[in-house]
């Protein structure tokens, strides 16, 4: 077949510009994507990797020609199936769209029309395309084409759904009635329904849990093998890419730095940025070894350590009252935890497992249905909020961009807890704040203290958040996914900082995460939370090396593995050259 000799998609010198209002002072057009060229072979999985804001999504919108104003394609060509996608008319483009070139969008949550049921969303595509599709594929004149019956269409849809391991029942459901994973599968099925040549997958799994992520990628790979389409995978998750892709393109600041096979990248990362990325993505393993040393040294003292926080038989039940019935939802069941001074406990679980609820109980933002919480020796009174405890437990939130009120300066954010908890007098407060900033590595502190949050980078902001949490001199720090919103390259430093602070201040840290590698890197102990129950608990190394509970086993399996240089991959590599 002649297609074998030509690449399926050939993009050359793409440039995308965001136009801005030139009547405003100090604004200029922003070139989002510049001089990007690559090609995709038939059946290939081509991955584009880059940090957020590097222009990945703009690129695919340009290829699909779904750029929204003020973006314009300001240069380049994109040959797909022999025609330049940038030059053809819109009706021609609409014929190619979906039947040959489909998309799995970034967040399946919002990608489905919430007011139409799943069947209607399939139907839209089928009605639009079946006629053209058949006319493209068959030589019959259009008048002779018989419309496929609804029954036939339905069969086709059901078959496709089966490919993504969904039953036909979902067809009559609405998007909000599906779980995140199911929605993602539906969007994949939707992308497959017309058996396209190329599927663009825009971060198809970021919104999902680790386990689901893993399963869906397995499904996609299986389907590619069965149906033989090509994939353009957009992601920021380098480990995933290194383990799956045929070739990888690395993007930074709108430019394509390098295209290579995963093996080549691992063996010879010529560019600093790439090396940094790869290094960052490999953190887990070396850090885990590192922390093992700490744990081993701490182990003899273990029994002597004082308990900072203890949870005994914690139960949390949410009651929902409607008019005629009240429903109960058990979020936490008999949770028992012990956290020692100067130690880190990682609470690992999928989203919805009850991690955040547990944190809220410790923070006294909510009261447990039953069970007891002890801080040191003292039991928390479930009836009233105790100011003193508030001083002793502080929290670092997930999103450093949201956790600082943009209308206040850094000084304000740091001085408030100092004043509220009367850590120091009003005269000393500024000096104290400066000292806090220095202690979290924002040095020289006087350069930062009068800035507004927006003038800081994400990593710096998270440091401010940590400084604020430390201001009231707490005994216990709860960190809710403190690094998940940060770019990979920044995570390491922040985790190191946390570790250092814990040791300095003899703090206890409750680290809430869904990311096993972070847990491995930082924690002395791990507790695995599944559906409100702690299914496994123990020393980090033990749990990870020898997972007992099936859930833990699945978790550990889902950690992306750095690829081995297998023979098959070498083969593909040769083909692509």
């Amino acid at each position: 077949m002649k297609h074998n000799h030509l690449p399926l998609l050939q993009l050359s010198n793409l440039e995308v510009t965001y136009l801005s209002d030139l009547s405003q002072a100090d604004t200029q057009d922003f070139i989002s994507v510049q001089d990007v060229s690559f090609d995709i072979q038939e059946g290939e999985l081509f991955a584009l990797v880059g940090e957020s804001g590097c222009g990945k999504s703009t690129l695919i919108n340009a290829v699909l020609r779904t750029l929204n104003p003020p973006g314009v394609i300001s240069g380049g060509q994109c040959f797909f199936l022999g025609s330049d996608l940038f030059q053809i008319t819109e009706s021609k483009l609409n014929q190619l769209r979906w039947s040959a070139l489909s998309l799995v969008p970034q967040s399946a949550m919002n990608a489905l029309n919430p007011v139409l049921n799943i069947w209607a969303q399939f139907q839209d595509v089928l009605e639009k395309h079946d006629q053209q599709d058949l006319s493209l594929k068959s030589s019959m004149s259009s008048s002779q084409i018989e419309q496929p019956s609804e029954q036939e269409l339905r069969t086709l849809v059901v078959e496709t759904l089966e490919l993504v391991e969904l039953s036909a029942d979902v067809l009559k459901l609405y998007p909000h009635e599906l779980s995140g994973g199911m929605r993602q599968r539906v969007t994949i099925a939707l992308a497959l329904i017309l058996r396209p040549k190329l599927i663009i997958m825009d971060e198809p799994t970021t919104a999902l849990d680790v386990i689901v992520q893993h399963e869906i990628m397995q499904v996609v790979l299986r389907l590619r093998d069965e149906l033989g389409f090509s994939i353009l995978l957009i992601t920021h998750d380098l480990p995933l890419v290194l383990s799956l892709a045929d070739r990888v393109g690395i993007m930074q600041k709108g430019k394509l730095l390098k295209v290579a096979t995963p093996t080549q990248l691992l063996l010879e990362p010529q560019i600093d940025y790439i090396a940094q990325l790869i290094h960052a993505s490999k953190i887990p393993i070396p850090k885990a070894l590192n922390s093992k040393l700490t744990i081993e040294s701490a182990l003899p003292k273990h029994q002597a350590k004082t308990v900072t926080l203890k949870a005994k038989n914690l139960v949390k039940i949410y009651k929902q009252k409607s008019f005629w019935k009240s429903t109960q939802k058990t979020v936490l069941q008999n949770v028992n935890l012990e956290l020692y001074q100067g130690e880190t406990l990682a609470l690992v679980g999928a989203s919805g497992s009850g991690k955040s609820t547990l944190a809220r109980l410790f923070m006294q933002m909510e009261q447990p249905t039953s069970g007891e919480i002890y801080l040191g020796e003292k039991r928390l009174d479930p009836k009233k909020v105790d100011r003193a405890f508030k001083t002793q437990i502080q929290m670092v939130f997930q999103d450093p961009f949201g956790a600082l009120n943009p209308i206040h300066t850094i000084a304000y954010h740091l001085q408030r807890p100092l004043l509220i908890h009367q850590v120091c007098t009003a005269q000393q407060v500024r000096a104290q704040a400066l000292a806090l900033l220095e202690s979290v590595g924002l040095s020289p502190a006087h350069e930062f203290i009068d800035r507004y949050p927006h003038a800081l980078s994400g990593g710096q902001r998270q440091r401010v958040c940590i400084a604020r949490a430390l201001a009231s001199r707490p005994k216990l720090l709860i960190a809710d996914e403190p690094t998940s919103m940060l770019d990979v390259s920044l995570r390491e430093d922040l985790l190191l900082l946390l570790q250092q602070l814990i040791q300095e201040h003899q703090l206890s840290l409750l680290l809430i995460t869904h990311d096993l590698s972070t847990a491995q890197a930082l924690a002395d102990q791990v507790a695995i939370l599944d559906q409100g129950k702690i299914v496994e608990q123990g020393l980090t190394t033990e749990v990870f090396q020898n997972p007992q509970h099936p859930f833990t086993q699945r978790l550990v399996k889902a950690i992306p593995q750095t690829p081995n240089l297998s023979a098959s991959q070498n083969l593909r590599e040769d083909q692509s050259v």
């Binding site: 014929q95 489905l112 029309n113 007011v115 139409l116 595509v125 009635e177």
Partner: protein
Amino acid sequence: MSYILKRFVLYFLAFCVSLILNFLLPRLMPGDPVGTMFARFKGRLSPEAMDALKQSLGFSGDSLLDQFWAYLHSLSQGDLGLSVAYFPTPVTEVIATGLWWTLWLAGLSVLISFIIGTSLGILIAWRRGSWLDQSLPPLFAFLGAFPYFWLAMLLLWVFGFQLDWFPLRHAYGDDLEPSWSWLFISDMFRHAALPALSIILATLGGWMLSMRNTMITVLGEDYISLAQAKGLSSKQVMLRYAARNAILPNLTAFGMAIGFVVSGSLLTEIVFSYPGQGYLLVQAVRAQDYPLMQGLFLTITTSVLCANCLLDLLYVLLDPRTRSSS
């Protein structure tokens, strides 16, 4: 269906509150209704006649609570009492003369205004940045800034009085018998044209602008991009994907705003001598006709609540998320 139930409880609550407001407001205010009524006789009334009439009107010396129970009791039997200003005609009869005309005029103009406004909103959101998008909102903001009755006066003057294109008053020709004939119905439309137009002109802009803004928000959603990537026609993306979702928050706002529009149409009715509730209400207030006021307030509130109920049913029909219990 808990959504619907919740809404209905709200309407019931609103109904109760308006009942209580209805009852309390006129009674807590100063004034003497029978005295007002007989003020028309310029003091000719003998004290005996006054007492006798007071008795028959139910303005007795009972406590407020007793009066309230009596009020509720008669209300439950569909009896709103006798009108003071139109004594001895029952309030229900007085209201019945105008209720349907108010519903017809307000309903017609609200619907037309909402449909056109929303359609224009969809259109200018889709073609945002075009000259239509730049000129329509300010134009309708300007028109909407005029008081309803002022526009009504202007339209009456230009199209009714000067050009003589439309009738000056009433809901249909005085020489016509109400019937389902083409003649009567066309006459009804003709008479409704100007009052409706003044309401439509004044309210159109609001619907248009809010639809445009929600449309623009919705157009940024992922499912719109996906729909485009699916190769669907722009018409289908615009209506089935964007407008279909954008209309939902606007429907809620529509329900809340019906009260405002009905209020405005009362003023328009007065300008056009439309035989609706508007002038009845003003007259009832001027004559301190408690029973009539209560009745009018109650019917207006109830009709607005009913319209809201209907809207909620429509909403449930349009938004599957309200249908599931989760």
